[in-house]
Each structure stands twice: as C-alpha cells, then as structure tokens.
Symmetry: D2
Subunit: 186 residues, 4 copies
C-alpha cells in the first residue's frame, strides 16, 4: 500500500475542498490511500509513515498560513535534523483570493512550501499544463484555487480547480508507487 | 529634471505598450522625463544618467526574456562591480500569456528583475492594490499585462493593464523626485 | 520625529541581537526613534503609528518563523484590507544556521517577508554590497546573521553581521525621513 | 540505457567543472550515460532524447546567465508548447562569487531554472543535506559552487562542491532509471 499524507489549513473550507479533491485522486489509484489532516493535528509520526507528503495552504500576504508554518517549524524541522524523510515524494497546492489577476502571491507561497519539502529531500511533483482543469486552476508548482472574483467577493473554488487537484493527486500517487522501494539518495 | 529610464524587450508589442504607458505616467509628473529603450539598445551610460530605472520583460518559462537578461549580465553587472547606481529608484513590470489563471510564472519573473535592482542598491517601488486598474492588471511587485485569454489566444493587453502601468510610472517619478538629492546609503 | 518599528521573533537571541543592532542604527540618525517588538506583542496600531516597518525572522525550513507569520496573517492582513500602510518604508533581515554555505534558504525567507511588505504598499530598502560588514553578513535583500558554523554548532552572530544590521537601520531611517510627508501613491 | 542531458554556460570554467563532475556521477550508475552540452550548442532534439535534463548556470545579478536563458526561451519554450518533455526528470546547479556569505542570489537563480523545468512537467530532484560535500557546497535546490573568496578573489570551486555535484548526478541518474517507463502524468 502506498500512503499519501495531505496536510492543510483552511479558513473558509476552500483549501479543505482542494485537499479532499486531491485525496480523491490519490484513492482512485490502485493500492494507494490518502490521509487528510489539518496542520494542527498532523504529527511527526504521520510524516514518517507516509510515502508522499502534500502541503496545502491559503495564501496570506504572499506566504504560508501560520498554522501550516507552525507545523513545518515543529514537525518538519525535526525531520530535517534527522534526515528522516529523504527520498519520499512531495507536492503542494494553494488557494487564495487572487486579487489582481496575476496569482495574488501564490507562486512565492507555493515556493515557500516547496522550500520545506526540498530541504527534507523530497522528490517534487510539478503540475504539467496538460492537466485537466489547468486552464483556470493551475500554476507549474501545483493547483491553485482562486476563491474570490475580481471584486474580492468569496465565490469559492470551481470544478476546474477541483479537477486540477484531483489529477495532481493521481500524479502524486503514481509517482510514489513508482519510486517505492527505489534507493535514490545516500 | 528627474529622469526615468525604462528598459524592455518585446515579442508582440505588448511589453512595449506597457513601457509606453508607464512612460506616459512619468511624463505627467512635473519636471520628470522618461526614456524608453529596448534592451539591446540601452547602455551603461543610460543607467548612470537615470534617477530611476524600470525593467520590463515578457515572461518566458517563468523568468526574464534573454534579451533583458543579456542587458543585465553586461551593463548592470558592470554597474554592480562599481557600486555605480546605489540609491537610485527601481521598479519592474511584466507581460505574459498567464495560462492557468495563477500568474503564469510572473511572480518569479518580476523577482528575478528585482533581484538585479536590489543588488544594484535601488530603492524598490511596489504596486499597492489601490492602484487604478489593479483588479485585472497587477501583482504587488508591479503591473502585469496578461496578453492571452484562457485558450492561449493573443488578445493583447487591455486598458486596465495599461492604466496600472501608467500609475506605476506616476509613483516611480514621484518617488525619484522625493529622493533626489537625499543621501540614503554610505 | 520619524518612527521605525522593528518586529521580530527569536529562538536563541540571535535575531533579537540583530533587531537591537538595527534599532541602534536608526537611533543614530537625528530625529529618528526605533521601537523593537516581539511578533506576539506587536499590534495593528503599532504598524499604523510607524513611518517605517522592519521585519526580522529566523529561517526555518526556508521560510518565516511561524510567530512572525501569525503577526502577518492577523495584523498585516487587516492593514492590507484597509490600504492602511501604503507609502511607508519597509525592510527585512534574517538569521539562520546557513548550513551548506549557500544561504540556507535565507533568500526565499526574506522574499516571503518582502512579499508581505510589497502587498502593503511599502517602499523597499535593499542592502547595497558597499554596506560595512556585507562581506560576511549580507544579501541584497537585507542583513543575514549566520549563527552556526559549518558543523551546525551554534556560534552566534558576529560583529560583521551586527554591523550590517546597524547600517541597514541607518539607511531605513534616512529613507523614512526623506519620504516623510511625500505623497507617492494615490 | 538512461540518458542524462546537462546544459550549462560557463565564464571561467567553474560551471563547466561542476557539469563534468555531475556527469561523472551519472556515468557511475549502471546503464546510465551523460551528455554535457554548452547552452548555445544544445538543441530541442537533445531535450526530447533525454530521460533527465539538468541545467547549470553561473549566478549573474541573482538570475540565470543570458546564454542559458536564450536556450530556455528558444528550445524549452517550444517543448512547453508541445508538452514534449512531461514526466522526465529534472535538476539544477549553479556557481557564483557568493559575495556576502548568504548565497549571493543563488536561491532565486536556481528557482528560475526550476521554474522552467516545472513548466515543462519535469519531476524535480532536490539536494538532501545528507549529500557528501553539502557542508560547503549545497542548497536544498542543488549544488552551489562558490568560486570566489570573501574578498571576491577567484579561487575556483573546491572538492566539496564537486563532490556534491557528483552525488547529485548519481541521484538524478537513479531517479531517471526508477521512473523510466512509468506513466505518471496524463
């Protein structure tokens, strides 16, 4: 069995919906299971038990939600000290209001999440532009659910965005399966 | 007289139009003049003569157009070695297809341009979300002209985007005037 | 009087020492005062009262300490909604173990802090390479105090690093004075 | 046979030495071959023929050497339009003077290279801190060869840096082998 851990924080359920859609994609792949945990509930042991780790966060002022960051500062930092997660698979996603029509800071936010995964030695799964739903729900680093319209009204994530998340989950699960047991590092 | 130099590269005239709109904003401020130069025509002396330096680039694969980069590698590198531009004012803008509806890599592209300006010791003018046109033409780091629709068809930059560029020019000119003669560094 | 607010978090007093050094630089400029506040004590009103805002953070897994991020998510987000800080001056600094001798993730960490400042509409003060102490204590985005040696032993920040922080404080104070009363935006 | 393509530009042979060291690592893995090509000689067909693509660049003003960027703008952009490289393996490395002791802009430079690889849909190999030589030659995103001392004198890349590059090559080759034939995307 290949295990994918998805850690998220959510303000208005949009990031949670993206996390669930991604988990659905994971579960559609044979012999793969997904565990969705809020950042304040996920543990160091959850990280160690997983074959792939996915982090999702709302974009707040162009960087990670502080609850996700608190999880990183405590659990992921500890794993970094011990080289405990090297060689697992990693990926990210984000949500946000997207005010300005240019991503609203989602690129640096995803890169902040990815910086953590790279430091842990995780193999990173990007989001190819050929992914279904990419037209309105994606960046090369992962799915992005824009949850507000141009007037900053909270319209929520749409089907395209959830579709991108679902397919990202499929990709992550497949990569984790393909790399399971392979010795890449060390 | 306060002088603003705008250096750009363009593929389909969109970045050029943004450069011209920005120059128009500069020229609307009393005692300010703007010079718009293509990256392969701008020189080290142009940099030294300016009070403010603005770089604009199409987004290609999430980073700067190579022609702008060639200008940076030759002229700006030389200025860095000599600390020749420390204390001037700097700003950026970009254009791109924006495929995916999440900025299409414009954030890292603007940061690559800004990394150059920061290394040169320039004081950076951001783009406040209250700028007219920001709704569909901006990121915190500068104006972004999305020139393609969701189907990747080249529809060109719109009035909102040009408006953001124009106001960015006004802000840059005012800042360069306010800081002219001030000794900030050294 | 020109007021500079410095908000920080600290684990082993290194970021605090850098904050104090930076405050010392501010206070050496005529008619300038500095206020140093821990991230969990700083308030929205502190932000509004300041002419310049400086954020300092330890680097944890290549991004901001969660306590600084919590301050940003609460106080700075609120200021963004209201456009309450547009046109003030902003700057950043960081500390970290620097393992690997290539910055240890400090560049993305400073950019995460700066993304917040840019969204707030702050004019960014970079760190020119001509700043005293830069040789071992700086990046173009701000002072960096490397507090561990290559073996990850905690040796603390050195005089060069504190010198860079002090001069950054001088630059920030001068810029805030020069721009005080100037109308740049809107 | 698993094929790794390494594309680079070099000013003083340091990036070339890192490329050769990385290629040596690739070749030490059974059934793997490495091809080292200068950016102005590499072609679209080289990209398509490779199982893994590695980009290496000197850091110039915090971003990619213009020659590498020209290769990206022409060959990689074309591949992006056609989704021609999705699912291959990707990785990066950089060299630079590192003035300031905080990476000298190498993090944003590697991220600019990686932005291109992520847009192409490549699975990214990071650099775990447990890699031999990491102490003085690495960042989470890849090997970094600091080629100047604190006085900006050109001392060249050292054995630690070449060791990191060699091991990065081993990791990349193993990952490309493990993923060969696997269908991850689409």
């Amino acid at each position: 069995m290949t295990k994918v851990l998805i850690v998220y924080a959510t303000d208005y359920q949009n990031t949670f919906k993206m996390a669930e859609a991604l988990a659905g994609g994971v579960r559609s792949v044979a012999d793969c299971q997904a565990s969705v945990k809020a950042a304040d509930a996920a543990t160091f042991d959850d990280l160690v038990a997983a074959d792939a780790i996915v982090l999702g966060s709302p974009v707040h002022m162009g960087s990670i939600d502080w609850r996700v960051k608190k999880f990183i500062d405590s659990c992921c930092s500890a794993a970094w000290m011990k080289d405990a997660l090297v060689g697992k698979v990693g990926a990210v996603f984000a949500t946000g209001s997207g005010f300005g029509n240019a991503g609203g800071g989602c690129e640096l936010t995803m890169l902040a999440l990815l910086n953590n995964l790279a430091e842990l030695g995780l193999i990173i799964i990007p989001l190819p532009k050929s992914t279904p739903g990419y037209t309105t729900g994606g960046l090369q680093w992962g799915p992005y659910g824009r949850s507000a319209n141009p007037k900053l009204e909270p319209v929520g994530v749409n089907e395209d965005m959830l579709s991108v998340a679902r397919h990202h989950g499929i990709h992550i699960a497949r990569a984790a399966k393909a790399l399971q047991g392979a010795r890449i590092f060390g």
